[in-house]
Amino acid sequence: MSHSEHHTERNTLAGSVEKSVEVQAHKCYQCGKCTAGCPVADEMDLPPSMVMRLLQTEEPANDERILRSHAIWLCVTCEMCLSRCPMEIDIPSMMDYLRQRARKEKKVNKKAKNIIAFHKSFLNSIRFTGRLYELGLILDYKRQSLNMTQDISLAPKMISRGKLHLFPTMIKGTAHIARIFKKTRT
């Protein structure tokens, strides 16, 4: 039997990351170049290279730390890490996976509440109209985040410059979009 066949399916976060997004955590040799170039690393509780290291341990407690981290929600998918990684590890795809997994397991970090609220508002906006309705997005986000005063000065300025529509544009295929959302279980 060839050596590669000895691997059994690993029941760890690293295992499922590898299976779902083809990112092999064990390729990382901890040079830290991802963290060095990450625009939000200094805001993160776990900089990207630390996420990689924790994955490598394949310890349940460390898997838990990752899923409950704020960091995975702060990642802005700028792809700088991937473009500079000597091992071409696709950290951005991995982050996408980790976020979805954290939501599924209801382990979302409390501090990420607003970020998710925004994403949800965003998707809500297109779920019903097919396109982004920016005013609706802001209002819905305020409702979800309970952050009523934020950007209060922005909207009037935008409206005055013709940058904010007061009413949404509905595309013809709204039913179609709704079905797409339903089928993808969004």
Binding site: P39, V40, E43, L74, V76, T77, C78, E79, M80, L82, S83, E88, P92, D96, Y97, R99, Q100, R103, N114, I115, I116, A117, F118, H119, K120, F122, L123, S125, I126, G130, R131, L132, E134, L137, I138, Y141, S145, Q150, D151, S153, L154, K157, M158, R161, G162, K163, L164, H165, T169, I171, G173, H176, I177, R179, I180, F181, K183, T184, R185, T186
Partner: protein
């Protein structure tokens, strides 16, 4: 061949200025395009953060609509939409099974045949060959060309400019008379999708980008992405507050700069809609 355009949501709203400038220079160069009929939002950051399948299905619907309407080449001015469309095309090409699944979700045929151009590729292909003769007012300014993330990364999938110190935007700008400065923040992230949910982070990151451009004596930051523009322009009060600074450098779309160079009035290319006043012309 019919050229399609996918404006994306921001160009119909917060980035109307960008939209106006794209159409204005297209018109000036006698270029026409057809909007992809009944296009939808690409899903942006939100979709791929929360649901992978949705993040592929939304762009796939757009591309399928383009195919259905015989649009072989689509220009996508918004760098974020551009990235989503190209990545979707790549993912579905790589994995036929996934492609089948997504086709099922969108209830449409999708072949992945459309050629997707970002705004600079479009300029390169259709504007540059006829540009020189049309320049009436060279854009003689020192500029910092800011590409952002999504235009160049992931470079192996986009296969466009190199991810480090890219050059295409600089070349376009020098062709209209501008002098691009050495600018290490070309591809640093502005904070993008966190604009509303973490304005503090966006202010911090965008501030660094603006500060370095001003420091190097640039008179304008040139962008090709509505998200970058809104963060660097609309968020300027937040940025100045965060950094306790008074950054005044305007943020101009590459299409606006070209418009000015070929003699279009500032209003026509949407410059009056900016938050940060554009004094140069």
């Amino acid at each position: 061949m019919k050229f399609g355009i996918y404006p994306g949501c921001s160009l119909t709203g917060s980035a109307r200025d960008y939209n106006e400038s794209v159409f204005a220079i297209a018109e000036a160069f006698g270029l026409e395009f057809t909007q992809i009929p009944d296009w939808n939002c690409c899903g942006a950051t939100a979709a791929h953060n929360l649901n992978k399948e949705l993040s592929l299905a939304l762009p796939a619907r757009i591309l399928a609509l383009a195919e259905k309407n015989g649009l072989e080449e689509i220009i996508v001015p918004c760098a974020a939409c551009y990235s989503r469309l190209v990545v979707t095309q790549h993912e579905l090409k790589k994995d036929p099974e996934l492609k089948n699944r997504i086709c099922e979700v969108i209830e449409m045929d999708y072949r992945g045949t459309s050629v997707i151009l970002n705004v600079i590729e479009w300029i390169d292909k259709y504007i540059i060959p006829k540009l020189e003769e049309k320049i009436v007012k060279p854009f003689n300014h020192k500029v910092a060309c800011y590409y952002g993330c999504l235009l160049v990364r992931p470079d192996k999938i986009l296969n466009y400019d190199r991810a480090e110190d890219p050059q295409t935007l600089d070349i376009v700008m020098s062709k209209i008379g501008a002098a691009p400065v050495d600018y290490p923040f070309k591809t640093e992230c502005c904070g993008a999708g966190l604009s509303i949910s973490r304005t503090d982070i966006v202010s911090k990151l965008s501030g660094k980008i603006i500060e370095d451009a001003e420091h190097r004596g640039a008179e304008a930051i040139i962008v090709a992405c509505p998200m970058c523009h809104s963060n660097l322009d609309m968020r300027r009060p937040d940025i100045n507050k965060y950094w306790k600074a008074k950054y005044k450098i305007p943020v101009i779309f590459v299409t606006q700069a070209i418009g000015l160079a070929i003699g279009l009035p500032a209003e026509k290319v949407g410059l009056k809609r900016h938050f940060v006043e554009v004094k140069i012309s």
